[in-house]
């Protein structure tokens, strides 16, 4: 599954979602109830955040009995650890800005 980096960034921009993702990465599969305990966040809110993480490919869910179990998918972070593609975009953008600056500088 390919997920655009900006979707990943958006999903991880929220500290509660980062905490949920980290908790799942660290402790393995958990239910919404387990994730809600001691989180200081309501169960509906946790479910909503998990939905966003799932949409970004960062967590996977599976139903077992009445409960849904969530697990982290750290592989989904791969686009973010590709420094080269990030810096490539970064420098292309900066070169555009450099040209714009040179134009503004006049003769």
């Amino acid at each position: 599954m390919q997920t655009a980096p900006d979707a990943l960034f958006k999903s991880l921009a929220d500290p509660t979602r980062r905490a949920l993702f980290e908790r799942l990465s660290r402790h393995g599969e958990q239910t919404v109830r387990m994730l809600t305990d001691n989180s200081g966040v309501s169960q509906p809110a946790v479910s909503k955040h998990l939905g966003v993480l799932r949409h970004a490919g960062l967590v996977r869910s599976r139903h077992r009995g009445r409960e849904t179990h969530y697990s982290a998918q750290p592989r989904a972070l791969a686009p973010l650890v590709d420094w080269m593609s990030y810096y490539s975009s970064f420098w292309h953008d900066r070169f555009d800005r450099l040209e714009a600056l040179l134009k503004r500088m006049g003769q």
Partner: protein
């Protein structure tokens, strides 16, 4: 101890201005801030400086750099170290009939991102924080 192979990002662009003008944009702090990042750069070999972006949780927003090469209107190089990633940036200017061929090479990227990502130097939150900032800078 392992010897990590590294790769480079290379950008080449012909820009319709003479080398001396581009050199100013590459070496005057106020101008560098206009197109690249806030900084306390000085065009002096050995000068240690920072590029600065807004700090985010788990990252102070500093890129640690040292000036490595200063050949006016020709070549400029500095290190670019942040979030456990150590790279070197080299700008080369060559006058052309239409202006200047500007080449930027940033080298030192480890080929094994996964290993770098899992390395002890930075946790993933710090890493995300830094990348988040880099991407924010793109907009």
């Amino acid at each position: 101890m392992t010897t990590a192979a590294t790769r480079s990002v290379v950008i080449e662009r012909e820009i319709p201005y003479p080398p001396d003008k581009i050199w100013r944009a590459l070496t005057e702090g106020v101008l560098i801030k206009e197109w690249l990042l806030d900084n306390n750069f000085e065009p002096v070999v050995g000068h240690r400086f920072n590029f600065r972006v807004k700090p985010v949780p788990n990252w102070n927003g500093l890129i640690d750099s040292e000036v490595l090469v200063v050949e006016p209107n020709k070549k400029l190089s500095y290190s670019w170290n942040t979030l456990g990633l150590e790279t070197v940036v080299v700008f080369t200017l060559v006058a052309t009939s239409g202006g200047t061929l500007v080449r930027m090479e940033q080298s030192g990227f480890p080929t094994d991102h996964e290993a770098a990502y899992r390395g002890a130097n930075y946790g993933w939150q710090k890493f995300i924080g830094g990348l988040e900032r880099v991407v924010a800078g793109l907009q």
